[in-house]
Each structure stands twice: as structure tokens, then as C-alpha cells.
């Protein structure tokens, strides 16, 4: 009964791993609340986009997570 978290770019450094499994929780707010405070603050920033199962979450306040979901945290992409 878990969620798969994916950390992209520099977020992988902050999370100390590119992926992590956590216990399933119903909302993104409660997911963030269960993480280390520094990481939680970083992931909750407005410029960090969140994708669930490959789709960008438009309104993260009302989004409902389900068991087995893949939740990806996407920082701004790099310029060239």
C-alpha cells in the first residue's frame, strides 16, 4: 500500500535518491507533510510541477491520490 515518488533534476539530490516509496495518503498536502521539512518546503514551491501517473496536476489542492500512484516532482527544466 504505497505511492512511488520520483524526484527529477536537483530534487533527486535533495531527496538523496531519485525515487522513494511512501505509505499511501489521500492528498498532496498530506504527502508533503509526511516528508522531511526541508524537502517538503522545496517540493511544495510553486515552480515545482507535480505529475501523477504521467499527467501534470493542475489543481494540487483538490487532487486525490490512489494506492500505487507514481508522483513525480519536476523542477524547471535546464536551458541550453
Amino acid at each position: 500500500m504505497s505511492l512511488k515518488l520520483v524526484f527529477l533534476g536537483r530534487l533527486a539530490d535533495a531527496a538523496q535518491a531519485p525515487e522513494r516509496a511512501v505509505e499511501t495518503v489521500p492528498s498532496i498536502a498530506s504527502l508533503l507533510a509526511g516528508l522531511e521539512p526541508d524537502l517538503s518546503a522545496m517540493l511544495g514551491a510553486e515552480k515545482i510541477k507535480i505529475a501523477v501517473n504521467g499527467k501534470i496536476v493542475v489543481d494540487r489542492a483538490v487532487f486525490t491520490l490512489r494506492d500505487g500512484d507514481e508522483v513525480a516532482f519536476l523542477p524547471p527544466v535546464s536551458g541550453g
Binding site: 520520483v6 527529477l8 533534476g9 536537483r10 533527486a12 539530490d13 505529475a51 501517473n53 504521467g54 501534470i56 507514481e70 513525480a72 519536476l74 523542477p75 524547471p76 527544466v77 535546464s78 536551458g79 541550453g80
Partner: protein, 148 residues
Amino acid sequence: MAADVRLFSAPFEPGLEVDRFAAANPDAGGIAAFIGKVRPSGGVEALELTHYEPLTLPGMEALAREVESRWDVSGVLILHRSGLMEPGEPIVLVAAAARHRRDAIEAVDFAMDHLKSDSWFWKREKRADGWHWIEPREQDFADLERWN
């Protein structure tokens, strides 16, 4: 042919791909292409591109469709590397085949601007003092505004 969009985790050969693309678009009078390589300057020893599979390829395919809808092109080619690369290796090849040169050139320019800003790649460079993540550049946003 329609759009040809591919991700590579190992080196690809731009010249070969350009020739194949030209052959696949026999009715186009012109092929414009842009090849981006890992720059050897600035003490960069290696470059690593990370992407997020569920978003990267669909994003590039959507960009190819956008290019086809905006310009009178008969074909669009978007090839992108990921993984660990050394200076001089190609990172990206974008090409467009069109009846008229201006369409082909503008389509490539547009695709490159959006590829760099819209697509899901994260880049870090290895220098003498270790790995550094690359942030978005101001110039990219300025380039994008040209199309709005």
C-alpha cells in the same frame, strides 16, 4: 512522412539521420537542420541529461504536431539524447522538410526554442570541482516570446 520523434540513450549520427530524413521526404525542395552538441568550452568534462519518460516523449511528439500545424512542412524530425555525454557528442537534431526554405528554417528555429523550454530534460555538467545542475537561462524565455 509525418513526424519522426525519437529519444536516444547512446550516441546517434546526425549526418546519417539528415540523409535518411531527406530521402524520406522526396517532395520537399529543402531540408533545414540544427544539431546541438556538447560544448567543450568552460571546462565541461561531461554532461548528463535526465528525462522523465512518461512526459518527455509525449511532449516532443506534441511539439512536432505543433510545428506541422504552424508551417507548411512535409516532415519534422526531432531526435534527442539522454544519459551521460562527452564534449563534442550530439545532444539534439531537429530538422524540417518543406517546399520553401523559409518554412523549413522557421520550423526548425521554433522547434528548438520550444524544445529547450518546454521539454522535460534536466541537465548537469561535470567540471573539475564536480557536478553542477544547469538552470533555465533568461535567453530561452526571450527566444520563446518571439513566437507569441
